[in-house]
């Protein structure tokens, strides 16, 4: 049997019962070298060395007691150089948070590990003590600064019962952001243990007035809004636009390297694309009309957007470079807020052609229009879930504000997932369809980005500065 360590790009299903032949790599000798470069979405990977022949068979997936999720423990990593002590703590805490996020594992709280002897090497992990704490899986990791700017991180995931390592990896790269190594481990462990695409390395883009600058111009007291990005957990915030105007409704390109957004830098709304790792800016609409709310097709080749170029807010589709503009809607009412179906053949959008804003679906060719929402007084910002879920989330008027609801395209049912905790708007699905980012006023101190599960549970506040709007979740 061919041995292969799981990589971040492997999408193979059926990992639960996969049995791999493994030789004496259990001794921790075989570690796949993996170079993680900060801010690179595609992690370059070196294929692992094939294992020796005559493998024994081990169970790769760690299970819990029957009917319960496996219980994971993530103690502090071991700092192999004194200047890596902070990173050792950060790695463990972030990995714990990341593994907790998908709710596939029961994460044993880190403040209950005090009685467990600290392992200095992979050979002296105190399995009996971990078993006593009820752990099914325990992480052992080390971190070492190899020079001023470089770290080497090693991690193993042990099955506490069999005392076998089922996952082992080594990473090296920049020391600037240790969190990225934890995010990478989490995604790879979710992939291996659950055949699940994790989101720990994804990012959120949003618009914010956190810099508290005022727009200079003929009208006073108008707040600058710029586009920002942050890791999915709200850390590592970076400002993308710097024009001190109104910059809103950012939306990720599928390659997670470009952000299309609406900017008023010319005094009216128009669409810009920032290639954030190259410092390049594109203006695909070529100065035709006023244009806003861009959204990339799932394959990244086209952009759907709203424009008043023909005198009324209508939907258009253009190629990413601005060529081949086609009008999708033709109605004297408002048509806006487009979102693509995962296969790019349909577009859901908002129209008030029936008197109030409601959600409709139309083919990307403009044909086969049908209305989705019927029980709402006001519905906007549809966002189509990625596979495997076939759902459209939207914000619906509810009392003085809005709540997030989810429409199931297969069954035709609508379920509500926020319930008047402030006003809740602008839902955006995570790339695995399991989470929704949205804005809420629930803290009572400004408008902030939150994430929640697609069931409305596990709500986390992502932003804390200023006011923050219209999140978009990267691949």
């Amino acid at each position: 049997m061919k041995f292969q360590l799981p990589t971040s790009n492997s999408q193979g299903g059926g990992a639960r019962n996969r049995r791999l032949g493994v030789g004496d790599w259990l001794l921790g000798v075989v570690l796949a070298a993996c170079c993680v470069v900060a801010l690179l979405a595609q992690t370059p990977q070196t294929p692992p060395t094939p294992p020796p022949q005559q493998p024994s068979e081990i169970q790769l997936v760690i299970s819990g007691e029957p009917g319960t999720p496996p219980r994971y423990a993530v103690p502090d990593f071991v700092a192999l150089s004194p200047d890596a002590a902070d990173a050792a703590k950060t790695l463990a805490q972030v990995l714990w948070d990341d593994l907790n996020f998908e709710r596939e594992f029961y994460m044993i709280p880190r403040d209950t590990y005090a009685t467990i002897p600290v392992a200095r090497t992979a050979e002296d992990v105190p399995f009996a003590a971990w078993r006593e704490l009820g752990a099914d899986a325990v992480v052992f990791g080390t971190v070492q600064k190899t020079d001023a700017n470089t770290v080497r991180v090693q991690v193993r995931l042990f099955n506490v019962r069999s005392r076998q390592a089922v996952f082992a990896k080594e990473y090296t790269g920049s020391a600037a952001n240790p969190r990225l190594y934890a995010h990478t481990m989490s995604d790879e462990i979710h992939q291996q243990q659950r055949a699940l695409r994790g989101v720990a390395r994804t990012k959120l883009a949003f618009s914010s007035d956190r810099n508290r600058e005022r727009i200079s111009g003929p009208v006073q007291n108008r707040d600058v809004k710029e586009v920002y990005i942050a890791d999915y957990d709200g850390e590592n915030v970076r400002r993308v636009t710097t024009n001190r105007q109104l910059n809103i409704t950012p939306t990720w390109a599928p390659d997670a390297r470009g952000i299309a957004y609406t900017s008023y830098r010319r005094g009216y709304p128009d669409i810009f694309i920032a290639l954030i790792y190259q410092g390049i800016q594109e203006t695909p609409t070529n100065g035709v009309g006023q244009n806003w709310l861009p959204i990339f097709s799932p394959d990244g080749t086209r952009i759907c957007f709203t424009s008043q170029r023909d005198g009324n807010p209508e939907l258009y589709v253009m190629n990413r470079d601005g060529s081949n503009v086609r009008r999708i809607t033709n109605n004297p009412a408002i048509d806006t807020s487009p979102t693509w179906s995962p296969n790019g053949t349909q577009i859901a959008f908002t129209s008030d052609r029936a008197g109030t804003p409601q959600i409709y679906v139309v083919g990307a060719d403009g044909l086969n229009l049908r209305r989705i929402t019927t029980g709402e007084s006001y519905a906007d910002r549809p966002t189509w879930s990625p596979a495997p879920f076939n759902e459209i989330a939207f914000s619906a008027r509810s009392g003085p504000g809005f709540d997030i609801k989810v429409y199931d395209l297969a069954g035709g049912d609508t379920r509500q997932i926020t319930f008047g905790e402030g006003s809740n708007e602008s839902p955006a699905f995570s790339p695995n369809g399991r989470h929704i980012a949205f804005t809420s006023t629930r803290s009572g101190r400004g408008v902030h980005i939150y994430t929640m599960g697609r069931d409305g549970k596990n709500v986390r506040q992502i932003t804390r500065d200023g006011n923050n709007y219209t999140p978009s979740w990267s691949n």
């Binding site: 009208v219 008023y264 709203t306 806006t336 908002t350 602008s426």
Partner: protein, 189 residues
């Protein structure tokens, strides 16, 4: 005695009426002269604080020119234009809104070189995304009426700000009502 009181009341109310009629001109008066620059030659420090010398500045007569002569910033800070307000979720100008737009059209006719941007604004009762389109429709509704009243479309721009720039940040109906508006901004004169 009663006569004097009546005259007094008349004079007072007349003054008040005048003050009400021309609120815009108050801000148009030249700013009071700045304090004389402290041109202090460093070597010999003056024994006493320098004598303050102020030049009298003539105040121009209250006239329409007071509007025409003001800078764009001053004009928009204390605008001769009034905003037109809209109902919840509505892009239609009601009677009050049409009266405001008609009065604004008269001002535009008096200053035929002015170019005006009609900004469409919305309240937080609507969503951020849909409001961008609703504000556009509000601005276009006002522009359409202005053109019907004889204003050249070349002098009119429209832009929607959705609910991005609330005029009143409160979360009550009186605030929302102020934010559902077409706001006139003079962009060149």
């Amino acid at each position: 005695m009663k006569r004097i009181a009546t005259v007094l009341i008349l004079v007072l109310s007349f003054t008040a009426a005048c003050a009400k009629k021309q609120p815009a001109t108050v801000a148009s008066q030249p700013a009071p002269p700045a304090a004389a620059p402290a041109a202090t030659p460093t070597p010999p420090p003056p024994p006493r604080p320098a004598e303050r010398i102020e030049d009298s500045v003539p105040v121009p007569a209250i006239s329409e020119d007071a509007i025409g002569n003001r800078s764009l910033e001053d004009l928009n800070r204390d605008s001769p234009f009034r905003p037109a307000f809209f109902g919840l979720d509505s892009e239609e100008l009601d009677d009050a809104g049409r009266a405001v737009v008609a009065a604004n059209a008269d001002i535009m006719k008096k200053y035929p070189t002015w170019v005006v941007t009609v900004e469409g604004h919305c309240d937080e009762r609507g969503t951020a995304e849909y409001n961008l389109a609703l504000g556009e429709r509000r601005a276009v509704a006002v522009k359409t009426y202005l053109v019907a009243l004889g204003i050249s479309p070349d002098r009119l721009r429209t832009v929607s700000y959705g609910k991005e720039f609330p005029f009143d940040t409160g979360h009550i109906e009186s605030a929302w009502a102020k934010n559902r508006r077409a706001h006139f901004v003079i962009t060149s004169k």
